[in-house]
C-alpha cells in the first residue's frame, strides 16, 4: 500500500523504533519506581496508619475519610517530611514516564497495524506487544479510578520484561506481514481485543492480589514500631483487596465474552465452536479458576488470602496459555511466526 507520504515499510520502521523507545522509557519509569520504593525504606509508616492499626482505639471523629490517606501515596505534598517528599517525587516521575512510554507504545502498536494493513495481533510478537499495551492501559485506568500508584513498580517491571523479551528474542520477533487465512475474520479482531483487555486487567488484578498478600502478611507480622518502608505507604490491605476485586470483576465477564467470540470465530473457521484444542482448553481452565476466585470471595473461610492465591493461579494459567501453549503444543491455534 502506498499512502503517498509513508509506505508500509516505513510504518514498520516507525513501529520498531517506537517499541524500542517505549521499552527504554518503561525501563526508566521502572527505575524511578525502584527509587520510590528504596527511598521509603527507612521511612516509618504515616502516623495515621500506625495509629489505625494499633489495638482497637476508638476511631477519631472523621476517620471515615479515606483510610489513612494522610501521608499515604498521593497525599498533598505540603504535609510531607523531606524523605516522604523524595518518595512522592520519584513516584510522580515514574507515573509521568509510564504515561510517555504508554503513548509511544501505542504508536508502536498503531504503526504496526498500518504496516501490516490489519489488526496487529497475528503472531506472538504482536500478542505480546498488544497485551503489554493492555496491561499499561489497565494500570492507567486503575490509577485514575483508584489512585493505585503503588502498582507502578510491579507494572513497569512486568511490561519492561515482556517488551524486552519480545524485541530481543529472535524466535519471537517477526517483521510485520500478512496473515494465514484462518486469521482473516473480524471475530478474531473482537476475540483478541477482548482477550487482550481482559488479560491487561487480569495482570493488574494479579499484581494487586500479590501486593494484598504482602501487605496483609506484613500487617499480621510486623510490630507497629517496625513498620517502615514502602509497603506502609500503601493503603490498608482491605483497600488493596477491594481494588483487586474491582479489577477482576471487570475482567471476568470480559474474558467470558472473549472466549465466546473465540468460539464463534472457531465455528466460522473450522466448523466447530469448541474442540478442546490446547488453547481452548487453557482458556477454559483460566475461566474456571477465575470463577472459583469470585466464588471463593463469597465462601466462608476462603476470602482474603485464599482468594488472592486463586487469583494468582488464574493469571498463571492465562500466561501459560499464551507462552507455554504457543511454544510447546501443536494445535489449530499454532500459527506461522510462532
Amino acid at each position: 500500500m502506498n499512502t503517498g507520504l509513508v509506505d508500509a515499510g516505513q510504518f514498520g520502521y516507525i513501529s520498531d523504533t517506537a517499541f524500542v523507545f517505549a521499552t527504554v522509557v518503561y525501563a526508566l519509569a521502572m527505575t524511578a519506581h525502584i527509587a520510590e520504593w528504596a527511598s521509603a525504606r527507612r521511612v516509618a509508616a504515616p502516623a495515621a496508619i500506625r495509629a489505625q492499626e494499633r489495638v482497637r482505639e476508638p476511631e477519631p471523629v472523621g476517620a471515615g475519610s479515606p483510610a489513612g490517606a494522610a501521608g499515604a501515596v498521593g497525599a498533598p505534598v505540603d504535609e510531607l517530611s523531606d524523605e516522604e517528599l523524595g518518595t512522592e517525587r520519584y513516584g510522580r516521575v515514574g507515573v509521568s514516564l509510564t504515561v510517555l512510554a504508554f503513548l509511544t507504545h501505542l504508536v508502536g502498536v498503531g504503526a504496526r497495524a498500518l504496516a501490516a494493513e490489519r489488526a496487529p495481533w497475528g503472531n506472538m510478537f504482536e500478542f505480546a506487544t498488544t497485551g503489554a499495551l493492555a496491561v499499561t492501559a489497565a494500570y492507567l485506568v486503575a490509577l485514575r479510578l483508584y489512585r493505585t500508584r503503588w502498582l507502578g513498580l510491579l507494572v513497569t517491571v512486568f511490561v519492561t520484561i515482556v517488551l524486552g523479551i519480545a524485541m530481543l528474542t529472535p524466535a519471537i520477533y517477526v517483521a510485520p506481514g500478512p496473515l494465514v487465512p484462518a486469521l482473516h475474520s473480524y471475530w478474531l479482531v473482537i476475540h483478541v481485543a477482548a482477550a487482550a483487555l481482559a488479560g491487561g486487567a487480569f495482570c493488574i488484578g494479579a499484581l494487586s492480589s500479590l501486593l494484598y498478600l504482602l501487605k496483609s502478611r506484613a500487617e499480621r507480622r510486623t510490630a507497629v514500631e517496625d513498620r517502615r518502608g514502602y509497603l506502609w505507604r500503601l493503603p490498608g490491605s482491605a483497600e488493596v483487596d477491594r481494588v483487586a476485586y474491582k479489577v477482576h470483576a471487570f475482567a471476568v465477564p470480559l474474558w467470558t465474552f472473549a472466549v465466546l467470540a473465540g468460539a464463534i470465530w472457531a465455528e466460522y473457521a473450522w466448523g466447530r465452536y469448541w474442540g478442546w484444542d490446547p488453547k481452548e482448553t487453557w482458556a477454559f481452565i483460566t475461566w474456571v479458576v477465575y470463577a472459583a476466585y469470585l466464588h471463593a470471595r463469597a465462601t466462608a473461610g476462603w476470602q482474603g488470602r485464599n482468594a488472592a492465591i486463586i487469583a494468582l493461579v488464574g493469571f498463571a494459567t492465562f500466561l501459560f496459555n499464551f507462552v507455554g501453549i504457543n511454544l510447546f503444543a501443536s494445535g489449530l491455534h499454532s500459527y506461522a511466526g510462532v
Partner: protein, 521 residues
C-alpha cells in the same frame, strides 16, 4: 455402653443422605469441584486427543504402546468424554441445581416482600443526614417518595408508632437475579452443547478439483457421528469443486506461509434444485440447511497413468496425497488393481518443489507446485482389494512384493510431470501426466448452536448484574420535634464498596428544595 449403640437406622440413612446433600450443595464443595474441573482439564491439553489430533494419537500408540495401554484404560486419549471428567462436571451441575432451587425460592420471596421498616435509630446507620424543613411533614414525605421512586427504588410509605411519616426504599434486586440467571445459564450452555454433540456429526473428505461430492456416508474419508445421530438425517446436497486457487508468501521470514485459499463450488441443495455458485474460503463456509461445509486445507492430486505388462492402461486419474508438513510433502499410494498379470501398487511422496539434500535425499522446499515430483517405490502382487473396504492412503503389503534393483535395493522412482518410468522386467510403467489440487473439506452439523450462544450471553449479563448492582436500602423519616419538621435520611449498603455517601447525599439534595434556603442542617 450398649445404649450408645442404638441409633434408629432408617433415620440415620435419611440423615446421612441429607447430610451428604447439604455437603454437596455447599459453597465449599462447589469451589472444590471447580478446582477439580480445572485440574481435570489439564491432561487433555498435554496428551494427544482422538477428537483433536487423531494422527498424534496414532503416532503416540506407535512409539509407546505400553504407556498407551494405560492411557486407554484411564480414558486419557479422550479426556473430555471420559467417565471421570464427566463425573466432575455432572457433580458440579447437580450441586448447582441443589443450590439454585432454594435460592430461587428465597429470591422469589424477597422479590415480593415490601421494603423493610426503618430501624428505630437512623443515626446509627453508616450514612445519616438530618435537617429541619419548612414544609409540612406530608409534603416532605411526598417529595421523598417521588425522589426515591425516580431513582428506581421500590418505595413504601407508612406512619410509625411515634406518628412519624416514614418512606422506606430498597433497590438492587437485580444483583441476586443476575446471580441466579448466571448459574442457570451455565446449565443452559451445558444442555445446548450436549444436544449439539449428541445429534450432530463431523466428517472430512478430500475432493479433487473438478470432482464432486454428495452428502452420503460413503463419500466421507472420516465420519464422527454423535451418539444419537441418525444417518437418514443427512441433508441430500451435492456439490462440485470447479476450481481451486492458493497463494503462498514467496519472500521474507514467513516464506511458504499460506496467504489465501479459495475454492469455487457449484452446489445443489437437494435433487432437482437449481445449481448455485459459492466461493468457499477459510472463514467463509457454505451453509446448506443445518449443515456447513468448511474449507480446512488442501493438498495435491497428481494425475497418473499406470500401464501393466501387456501395455494396457490399468489406472488413469488424479490420486490425492495427504500433506504431512508445511512444505506440503505429501504421502499417498497409487493402486492399479486392473493390472495384469499381477496387480501393481505404488507408495511414496509427492513433493511440490523438489530439492535435494545429502542426508535427507529429495525433499520439498516450498509448498507451491514450483517443481513438482513424485518419489515412489513400486510393488506387484495382490492388493487385497476385494475384502474389507480399504483406505485409499494405505497399501496392504501382506501379499505384495517390492520391485528391486540389481543388488536388492528397492527400486526407486523419481517422476517429473510429463515423464514415464518403466518398471523392471517389463512389468509395466507409470507416467506423471499432470497435477490437480484437492481440497480438504470438513462437513459438519451441530444442531441447536444458538442454545449455548444464548446461554453464554445470558451468563455474561447475569454475571455483570451480579457483580455491579449494589442492593441498597434507604429511609427517610419525617417527624415534628419542638414545632419543627425534622427530616432524617439514612442509607445502608448490603454489599461493601459502593459510594453510599454519594447516594444518600444525592437523595438529600433532591429532597431539600434549593430555592428556599431557610432550612438549616
Amino acid at each position: 455402653m450398649r445404649r450408645t449403640y442404638t441409633p434408629a437406622p432408617a433415620l440415620s440413612v435419611l440423615e446421612t443422605l441429607r447430610w451428604a446433600w447439604r455437603q454437596l450443595t455447599s459453597m465449599r464443595t462447589a469451589l472444590i469441584l471447580l478446582f477439580l474441573l480445572a485440574v481435570a482439564s489439564i491432561p487433555g491439553s498435554v496428551i494427544p486427543q482422538t477428537g483433536v489430533d487423531p494422527s498424534a494419537v496414532f503416532a503416540f500408540r506407535e512409539s509407546s504402546p505400553e504407556l498407551a495401554r494405560w492411557y486407554d484404560r484411564l480414558g486419557l486419549f479422550h479426556v473430555y468424554s471420559s467417565v471421570w471428567f464427566s463425573a466432575v462436571y455432572v457433580l458440579l451441575m447437580v450441586s448447582l441445581v441443589g443450590c439454585f432451587i432454594p435460592r430461587a425460592r428465597q429470591y422469589w420471596r424477597s422479590f415480593r416482600a415490601e421494603p423493610p421498616n426503618a430501624p428505630r435509630n437512623l443515626d446509627r446507620l453508616p450514612v445519616h443526614r438530618e435537617w429541619t424543613a419548612v414544609d409540612s411533614g406530608a409534603v416532605v414525605a411526598e417529595r421523598a417518595h417521588r425522589v426515591l421512586r425516580d431513582r428506581r427504588y421500590r418505595v413504601r410509605r407508612y406512619v410509625d408508632d411515634r406518628g412519624d411519616q416514614v418512606v422506606a426504599a430498597e433497590n438492587g434486586h437485580l444483583r441476586e437475579a443476575g446471580n441466579l440467571v448466571f448459574h442457570l445459564s451455565l446449565l443452559v450452555v451445558l444442555f445446548g452443547v450436549a444436544y449439539g454433540s449428541l445429534f450432530g456429526f463431523k466428517g472430512g473428505a478430500l475432493v479433487v478439483e473438478g470432482e464432486g461430492f454428495s452428502n452420503t456416508l460413503t463419500q466421507y474419508d472420516e465420519f464422527e457421528p454423535g451418539a444419537w445421530f441418525d444417518p437418514a438425517s443427512l441433508d441430500p446436497f451435492t456439490f462440485t469443486v470447479d476450481d481451486f486457487a492458493v497463494t503462498f508468501e514467496t519472500a521474507g521470514d514467513q516464506r511458504g506461509a499460506p496467504r489465501s485459499f479459495q475454492a469455487d463450488v457449484s452446489y445443489v441443495e437437494a435433487p432437482g434444485a437449481p445449481a448455485q455458485q459459492y466461493d468457499l474460503r477459510v472463514n467463509h463456509p457454505l451453509q446448506i440447511d443445518g449443515t456447513s461445509v468448511f474449507l480446512v486445507g488442501h493438498g495435491y492430486a497428481p494425475e497418473v497413468t499406470v500401464r501393466d505388462g501387456n501395455g494396457d492402461v490399468a489406472f488413469r486419474g488424479p490420486v490425492p496425497f495427504l500433506p504431512q508438513d508445511s512444505s506440503y510433502t505429501s504421502l499417498g499410494v497409487i493402486k492399479a488393481p486392473d493390472a495384469a498379470p499381477q496387480q501393481l501398487g505404488f507408495e511414496g511422496f509427492f513433493l511440490p518443489t523438489v530439492a535435494f539434500d545429502e542426508q535427507r535425499g529429495p525433499y520439498s522446499a516450498f509448498p507451491d507446485a514450483l517443481a513438482p515430483g513424485l518419489v515412489l517405490t513400486a510393488y506387484h502382487g495382490d492388493l487385497q482389494m476385494d475384502g474389507q473396504p480399504q483406505s485409499v492412503f494405505v497399501l496392504d503389503k501382506e501379499r505384495l512384493r517390492q520391485f528391486e534393483q540389481q543388488g536388492g535395493e528397492p527400486f526407486r522412482i523419481l517422476l517429473r510431470p510429463g515423464k514415464t518410468v518403466q518398471l523392471p522386467d517389463g512389468r509395466g510403467s507409470i507416467s506423471f501426466d499432470g497435477l490437480s489440487r484437492a481440497v480438504r473439506l470438513q462437513v459438519s452439523s451441530t444442531p441447536a448452536k444458538v442454545v449455548p450462544l444464548v446461554g453464554v450471553l445470558a451468563a455474561i449479563a447475569g454475571l455483570v448484574a451480579s457483580l455491579f448492582v449494589r442492593p441498597r436500602r434507604a429511609w427517610v423519616r419525617v417527624g415534628r420535634r419542638d414545632g419543627d419538621t425534622v427530616v432524617q435520611a439514612a442509607g445502608l449498603d448490603r454489599v461493601a464498596g459502593g459510594d453510599l455517601v454519594g447516594a444518600v447525599d444525592d437523595i438529600v439534595t433532591a429532597i431539600r428544595p434549593r430555592s428556599r434556603d431557610m432550612e438549616h442542617a
